[in-house]
């Protein structure tokens, strides 16, 4: 029952995203940047989803350390993995936006660079988990790493901003693109759909994590017999 509900929610989220593609394509090009500007409709929601997922990961890591309940450890790994997936979406869309607008695939601006470092850091989290065998140790280490990584997020962001203001950087455009009010509604829908999708993915991943733990205990049982 619960699984069906989850899948239904996932399908709804995908449906909203798919419907919005056509609505977005129908919008007139943005005055300054043309159609490429509309990548924002996927870019921003994926960042919101990634941010939500990674904050969830931090909170569940702390909760794990406080309660030692493995439910929270599973939530932390599920949320981090989904967060990394959405970070990847954000990076990919960012790159594809930068190409027509800035003329290069990658710009070392504050947001893109800190996003990349964030991605590397949380990819490190997943690798660390992968390398630790013993479940209790793995959960403890991962939680500690998650906390240390989250502390770094604002520091990374601000330091890169300072760095770029002192260095020759690609030309920055100070004025924002124009954003008609009827676009905001679509943006809202897309954010909602992405976050919903993230939640569904986290729950599915959570179930898998539980299945993995069941497998581990079955293995140990088989080993003990």
């Amino acid at each position: 029952m619960r699984e069906k509900l989850l899948y239904a929610l996932g399908v709804i989220a995908f449906a909203i995203l798919a419907r919005d593609i056509f609505i977005i394509a129908g919008f007139p090009p943005e005055v300054a940047q043309g159609n490429a500007f509309k990548i924002i409709f996927f870019h921003v929601p994926s960042w919101v989803a990634a941010g939500t997922a990674l904050t969830t990961a931090l909170l569940s890591s702390i909760l794990f350390l406080v309660t030692k309940n493995f439910k929270y450890d599973a939530t932390a790994v599920a949320a981090t993995e989904v967060g990394v997936a959405f970070l990847s979406v954000g990076l990919a869309t960012g790159i594809l936006w930068a190409r027509p607008i800035w003329g290069v695939w990658w710009v070392w601006d504050a947001r893109l660079t800190s996003a990349l470092i964030l991605w590397l850091m949380y990819a490190g989290y997943l690798m660390l988990r992968h390398a630790v065998e013993e479940p209790t140790q793995r959960a403890n280490f991962a939680a500690v790493f998650s906390i240390l990584a989250f502390i770094d997020v604002p520091i990374v962001y601000f330091s890169i901003r300072w760095w770029r203001t002192q260095h020759p950087a690609p030309v920055f455009f100070s004025s924002g693109g124009s954003f008609p009010p009827d676009w905001s509604a679509v943006m809202g829908w897309n954010i909602l759909a992405m976050v919903m999708l993230a939640c569904v993915l986290v729950s599915v991943r959570l179930q898998q994590e539980q299945a993995q733990r069941e497998i581990d205990s079955l293995r140990r049982l088989a080993h003990a017999l």
Partner: protein, 81 residues
């Protein structure tokens, strides 16, 4: 966020200074269509990344199910003996 605009800064002044000829307009339209191309790339990228992740999940789901059934069968087998 991608709210940074924009070509306003230089495209329009350039167009004005050049007394916008029809060729310029066609070129500009071409440019915007090119951007349309990148819009579709952007959407495609987002979908591809998500789809790949979902596919990874599905394959993991299958592997887990297979392992669980395998282990359970093995345990039953051992307990019978």
């Amino acid at each position: 966020m991608l709210s940074n605009g924009s070509l306003m800064h230089w495209t329009l002044p350039v167009l004005l200074a050049a007394q916008v000829s029809p060729e310029d307009v066609t070129r500009e339209i071409g440019r915007l269509q090119r951007n349309f191309e990148f819009l579709s790339y952007g959407f495609a990228a987002a979908w591809i990344v998500l789809t790949v992740y979902v596919l990874m999940m599905v394959s993991r789901e299958r592997r887990l199910k297979r392992e669980i059934t395998g282990l359970k069968a093995m345990l039953e087998d051992r307990q019978k003996r």
